[in-house]
Assembly symmetry: C2
Homo-oligomer: 682 residues x 2
C-alpha cells in the first residue's frame, strides 16, 4: 500500500506532540522522538501486532524502547493508538504520580511498556530475553495449526545502547542463538550528549553486528523514506534464523533549527524554535497538543485490524484448549502466576546428623527436585555451570536446533561469560510470560550485572540469582573473587530478597521464598565449602527470615549469624562457656527482608531487650547495627588461601567470635537498659 499525505500528517503529529509534551514539562528529550517518528509510525501502523484494549495479549509483538529517554515517543504513540493515555497524561509528563515518567516504567499495565528502560543498554538485553522467551515458548507450546507464540520483538536503541557493554554481551548471545524475529532498530543519528559521535564512537557497527551473526539492513533516509523503512521491517521479521539490526539513519530533532546537533537531545526546544517547527509541520503555532481528527481515525483503523487479528487468535486459542488440554492448562496456570499444586512437597528436607554439604550443592539438589515439576523454570549460568551447580539432572540446553547440542525447547541457557548480559536477558525472560528465570554466577560477579539486577527490582520481576562462592570461604581464588561489600549493596536495594542459607533446610526455604515472592528478584548466596545440618533449622523457621536456632534463657549475649557463620556461632557458644563462663544464644538470620516482614513482637523474641547482640558474618558489617549492638565482619579485602587459613587469619574461629562476644558483654554489662535494635522509633 503506498504512503500518502495522511502518513506524513501522522508523523508530523507525533513530532509536534513530542515538542509540546517536552515544552510543556520544561524537561525531557524531544530530539530522538522527532527523529524516530517515521519509523515509529511505520512500525505501529503497518508492522506490529498489538491491541490497546488488551495490552497484555499473549501473542502481541513486543516493543522495547532501549533508548528510554525518548519515552515521550512511546507515550505519544500510546495516545494516538488508543491506549489509556490521554492528552492530560501527556501534559503531566515527568510529574510525580503520572502515567508518563521520565523513563519507561512497567507499573501501568494499561500501556505497552514491557520492561523498564533508561539505563542504556538494558532494553536491548531485555529484548534478547523476550526473543528467547518467544523461541522457547513456541517450541514448548506450539502445535501444528496452533501457533500460540509467533510474535516478533522490536527494539529501538541509540548510540548509547550500542556503546554499553551489556548490549555487546546480549547481542553476541542473540547471534549465537540465531534468534529470528528479533529486530533491533539503531537510531543512527550521529549524536550523543557530549556532541558528535566522532568524539568517541566511530566503530563500524554494522560489521560488529555481522560478527555476532546478525542480519544487517540499512535505511539511508530514515527521515522520510517510509517505503524503505517498511521494507526493512518486513525483511527483518521474515528472517527466521538470525536477529536483525536495522541501521536507520535519522536526523535527531528533525525539523528543529538545531536538528542534527546535541542541543536537541536533552532539553525542550527553545520557544521560537518550537513555533518554527509547528509551522513547518503545518500546525498552528499558537496551539498545543493538536491532533487532527483524521490522524486519530487513521490509527483507529489500524488498531481495528489488529483487534480482528486478536479475535481470530482467541478463537484459535479456544480450540487449542480442547486439542491440547494439558499444554493449555499448564500454560494458563503459569500465566496466572500459580505454581504447580503441591510443588513445595518436593523441597528437600534434612535433619541434624545428615552429612555436611556445601549450600551450592544443596541448591543443586533443590533444582534437581524442582525443575522436573516446575516446567517454567528456565536456568543457566554465566559459564560457571560446574561451579554454580545450576544444571539439574536431565536438563537439556536451549540452543538453536541446527547446532545439535540442544533445541529451543531446552531449558538451560549457556549465557557465556556475560553476567550483565545474563541479568539483562533474564529481565526479558521474566516478563515474557511463561518463564521463571534463574541464572548462576559467583556472588562477587553479580556486581558485574548490578545495573540489570536493579531493573529486575524496579520492574517487580521474579528473577533468581544463584550466587555461589559466597565469601572468603571460596578460598584460593583470592580477593578478586571474594565478595565483601556485595550483600550490603543488595540489602540496601529496594525490592530484592537477599538469602544466605546456613544449611539444607534453609536452602530449601530460600527457594520457597524466591519462588513465592513473585514480584521481586532474589539472590541466593551459597557456599563453596561444606556446612553441617543444624538442629532447629526448619523450612518453617527459616521462612520467617530469622529465628532462634539455639535458645538459652540465661544468655549473656545473642550471637546472630548467616550462612557459614551460623555453625561457627554454635561452636563459639561452647568456647564462651568454657573460657569465659558466659552463656550465649544463637540466631540464624538468613534473610533480612523476610525478617522485616514479621511483627515487632516476633522480631523482639528473636533479638530481645536486656542483653547485647553481636553479628558474625564474613562480609563488610555495614548495616548489621540495624539488628545488633556490635558487628563482627570483614574490614578489608580477603586473600588467596584455603578457606580454613582465611577464616583463621581474619579470626572467624570459635575463639575469635567468643573473644568479641566477651568484649560485647563487657561493654554493655553496666548498661541499665539494653534496648534491642529491632525496636524503632519510626
Amino acid at each position: 500500500m503506498p504512503y500518502s499525505e495522511i502518513d506524513q500528517l501522522a508523523i508530523n503529529t507525533i513530532r509536534a506532540l513530542s515538542v509540546d509534551t517536552t515544552s510543556n514539562a520544561k524537561s525531557g528529550h524531544p530530539g530522538a522522538p522527532m527523529g524516530l517518528a517515521p519509523a515509529s509510525h511505520v512500525l505501529f501502523s503497518r508492522i506490529m501486532k498489538f491491541n490497546p484494549s488488551s495490552p497484555k495479549w499473549l501473542n502481541r509483538d513486543r516493543f522495547i524502547l532501549s533508548n528510554g529517554h525518548a519515552c515521550v515517543l512511546q507515550y505519544v504513540m500510546c495516545h494516538l493508538l488508543g491506549y489509556q493515555m490521554s492528552i492530560d497524561d501527556l501534559k503531566k509528563f515527568r510529574q510525580v504520580g503520572s502515567k508518563t515518567p521520565g523513563h519507561p516504567e512497567t507499573h501501568d499495565p494499561t500501556l505497552n511498556v514491557e520492561t523498564g528502560a533508561g539505563p542504556l543498554g538494558q532494553g536491548i538485553a531485555a529484548a534478547v530475553g523476550l526473543a528467547i522467551g518467544k523461541a522457547h515458548s513456541a517450541a514448548v507450546y506450539n502445535r501444528p495449526g496452533f501457533d500460540i507464540f509467533d510474535n516478533s520483538t522490536f527494539c529501538f536503541l541509540g548510540d548509547g545502547c550500542l556503546q554499553e557493554g551489556i548490549s555487546s554481551e546480549a547481542s553476541s548471545l542473540a547471534g549465537h542463538l540465531k534468534l529470528g524475529n528479533l529486530v533491533a532498530i539503531w537510531d543512527n543519528n550521529k549524536v550523543t550528549i557530549d556532541g558528535n559521535t566522532e568524539l568517541s564512537f566511530d566503530e563500524d557497527v554494522e560489521k560488529r553486528y555481522e560478527a555476532y551473526g546478525w542480519q544487517i539492513l540499512r535505511v539511508e533516509n530514515g527521515d522520510s523514506d517510509l517505503e524503505s523503512i517498511e521494507k526493512a521491517f518486513r525483511e527483518a521479521v521474515a528472517c527466521q534464523d538470525k536477529p536483525t539490526l536495522i541501521n536507520l539513519k535519522t536526523t535527531i530533532g528533525f525539523g528543529s533549527q538545531q536538528q542534527g546537533t546535541h542541543s536537541v537531545h536533552g532539553s525542550p526546544l527553545k520557544p521560537d524554535d518550537a513555533v518554527q517547527v509547528k509551522k513547518l509541520f503545518g500546525f498552528n503555532p499558537e496551539q498545543t497538543f493538536q491532533v487532527p481528527a483524521e490522524v486519530y481515525d487513521f490509527y483507529q483503523k489500524r488498531v481495528d485490524e489488529n483487534r480482528a487479528a486478536q479475535k481470530a487468535y482467541d478463537a484459535m486459542y479456544a480450540e487449542y484448549a480442547k486439542a491440547h488440554p494439558d499444554l493449555y492448562n499448564q500454560l494458563e496456570r503459569i500465566l496466572n502466576r500459580k505454581l504447580p499444586e503441591g510443588w513445595e512437597k518436593n523441597l528437600p528436607l534434612y535433619k541434624p546428623g545428615d552429612a555436611a554439604v556445601a549450600t551450592r550443592k544443596l541448591s543443586e539438589i533443590v533444582l534437581d527436585a524442582l525443575c522436573p515439576v516446575i516446567p517454567e523454570l528456565v536456568g543457566g549460568s554465566a559459564d560457571l555451570t560446574p561451579s554454580n551447580l545450576t544444571r539439574w539432572q536431565g536438563a537439556a540446553d536451549f540452543q538453536h536446533p541446527s547446532t545439535n547440542i540442544g533445541s529451543y525447547a531446552g531449558r538451560y541457557i549457556r549465557y557465556g561469560i556475560r553476567e550483565h548480559g545474563m541479568a539483562g536477558i533474564m529481565n526479558g525472560l521474566a516478563v515474557y510470560g511463561p518463564i521463571i528465570p534463574y541464572g548462576g554466577t559467583f556472588l562477587n560477579f553479580v556486581s558485574y550485572g548490578a545495573g540489570a539486577v536493579r531493573m529486575a527490582a524496579l520492574n517487580n520481576s521474579r528473577v533468581i540469582y544463584v550466587a555461589t562462592h559466597d565469601s572468603i570461604g571460596l578460598g584460593e581464588d583470592g580477593p578478586t573473587h571474594q565478595p565483601i561489600e556485595t550483600f550490603a549493596h543488595f540489602r540496601a536495594m529496594p525490592n530484592i530478597y537477599c538469602w544466605r542459607p546456613a544449611d539444607g533446610n534453609e536452602t530449601s526455604a530460600a527457594y520457597l521464598s524466591a519462588l513465592t515472592h513473585d514480584s521481586s528478584p532474589s539472590i541466593l548466596a551459597l557456599t563453596r565449602q561444606n556446612l553441617p545440618q543444624l538442629e532447629n533449622s526448619t523450612i518453617e523457621n527459616a521462612s520467617k527470615g530469622g529465628y532462634v536456632l539455639y535458645e538459652n534463657k540465661n544468655a549473656n549475649v545473642t550471637l546472630v549469624g548467616t550462612g557459614s557463620e551460623v555453625s561457627l556461632c554454635l561452636e563459639a557458644v561452647k568456647v564462651l562457656k568454657s573460657e569465659y563462663n558466659l552463656e550465649a544464644r544463637v540466631v540464624s538470620l538468613p534473610c533480612w527482608e523476610v525478617f522485616e516482614e514479621q511483627t515487632e513482637s516476633y522480631r523482639l523474641s528473636v533479638i530481645p531487650d536486656g542483653i547485647p547482640a553481636m553479628s558474625v558474618e564474613v562480609y563488610s558489617a555495614l548495616g548489621w547495627t540495624r539488628y545488633v549492638h556490635e558487628a563482627f565482619g570483614m574490614t578489608s579485602f580477603g586473600e588467596s588461601g584455603t578457606a580454613k587459613q582465611l577464616y583463621e587469619k581474619y579470626q572467624f574461629t570459635p575463639q575469635g567470635v567468643a573473644q568479641r562476644a566477651q568484649k560485647t558483654h563487657e561493654a554493655y554489662k553496666d548498661t541499665p537498659f539494653i534496648r534491642s535494635p529491632v525496636r524503632r522509633a519510626f
Copy 2:
C-alpha cells in the same frame, strides 16, 4: 635469529613448572599456562623490554594477564627471568601471605604485575588505560632525541575477557583513539569452563575487532610455530596508528591427555597425566620443579640485553634532565607522588551568604582551579560532560591528532557511554605513572562500573569518580537514574573514600581528600540541585570526615546529615523548636571513612552520649546505625518528578525530619543511659 632446541626446552620448562605448581598446590589453572607457554617465551625472550632488577623502570613494556586465572604462567616467567620469585614462592602458590596468590595482585613491587586481574575483562580495559597513558605521556614529555616514553603494552586475554562487556567498551574506544603499541593476544583455545566455545561464543572475533578499528593478525599454530608468533608480535609493535589483536590459536593444556578440553582449565592434572606430560617434555617424572641450568642461562642473557637497554635509557634520561629541566622536574615530582607545592591554596573557599550552588557546579569550579596547576590530572566523562561539568575551562581533548578535534597531549577523555570501560581504563591510567585520572558519570551509573571500581580499591589506586546527580534530587529522570543503594555499596567496600559534600567548602575538602589519599580511590557524590553555603563548614572541619555544624548544649537530639540533607537538618532545627519545643544540634558527616580515622574522643564529641542521634539522607539508610540510633532514609525507589515534589513525597522536608526527630526523642527519653553508637566494643 632462528629458534633452536633451547627455545623448546624453555617452553617445556614453563609447561612443566605450570603443572608442578598447580599440582603441588592442589589448586589452580594449568591449562592456559601450558597453552600460552610458547607465546610467553617468545614475548619475554625476544620482544619485551623490561628489567627484573628494576621492575618499575619508567619505560618498561607493560604486560597484563587479563585472563588472570592463568597467573601461574606469570609467576613461572618471573622466576625464570630473575624477578624476586623463588621456587619456594611457586611452592606456596595460592597460600596465605605468599607472593603467588590465585590471581595477580599489585601488592608486591618486585614483580611485573601492573594491575590486578582475574575478574574477566578488567585486564584488557586496564591495558587500554596503559596505552592511553603512554600515548599521553609521550605527547607531553617526549622531545626530539628524548623518547622518554616509547613502551608497548601487551595483554594476554582469553575467551572470557572477550565475552565480557567491559572488553567491548574499552576495545571500541581503543580503536577510536588509534592506540598504536597496544597488543592484545587472544588465547584462542575454543574452551571455557562450561565446555567448548560452541556452547555460547561463536561470534567472529576478528571481524568484531576490525569493526572497532583494530589491526588483526593471526597465528594458526600458537603451539609450536614460534617464527609466526614472533612475526605477529613485531608487526603489532610496529603498528603506530591502530591497536592490534593477535588471534593466537592454541591448545589448552598442551601435552596433557586432556588437552583441548575444559578438564584442564580449572584444576591440576591428574597424577598419571602429570607424569605423562613430564615424560613427554623430557623431564624426569619423579622430580618436580626442575629447571635445566641452560634455561636459566638462556633467559639471563636476554635479561642482560635488557639491562643494557635500560642503562642506555638512564643515560638519555640524565641528559633529558639537563636539556628539559622543567619537564624533568615535573615528571619526577609526579612519579614521586607529590602534588605541586602549594596546590591546595587554589581550592575555592566560600562563606555563608555566598550564592547557593549545586555541588556538581562547585566541583567544576574546583576543577577549573586545579587542572591548570596539577598537570597530572587527566579527566573525562562517560558522555555526560554537560551534566557532570567535568571539563575545565581551557581543557583540550585527548584524541588522535588526525581527527583534528584534539591531540594526544589533550587531558580530557571522551569515554563515550561506557562506564565500566571508563573505570577499567582509569585503573590502567592510574598505574602508568604520570597521571591521576578522574572520570564523570551519574552516581547511579558508577554501579555499571562496580567491577572496575573494586579493582581500583584492590590495587590501591588513586582514581576519582565524579558522580553527579546524586539522589532523587536529580528529579524528572526518575528512579532508573536515582541512586538509593549506591552509597551503601561503596561504603561497604574496603579502601574507597565516599564523599557527599554539603556545600562549597566541603566540595573543596572532598577534592583535597581524594588527591591526598594516594593509595585509594574516591567517589564524590554531587548534586544536580543548588545548595546553600553553610556556616561552620570549612575545609578544615570537613577534612575530619564529620563535624558539628551547629552546636547546642541543650540539645535533645543530634541530627546527622550529608550533602543536600545537611541544610535540611538546619531547617528542621527551627521546626523542632517551634512545633515541638525540642532543641537539636546538627552534624555534617560528608565522609564516613575519614571520620573513622579520627580518635574515638573526637568522634564522641561529634556524636556524644546522652542524647539520641538521627541520620537524614535520601538513600537507603543501611549502615547508618553505625553512627546514629535512628536512621531516616529511602525505603523504596524514587519517582519521576521535580526535586521539590520528590522531597515532599518522601517527607524529606523540615516538617518530616522534625516529626521523626521528635519520635526519636520520645523513644529514648526514658532511657537511663544513651550510649553513642560511635563507642565500639572491639
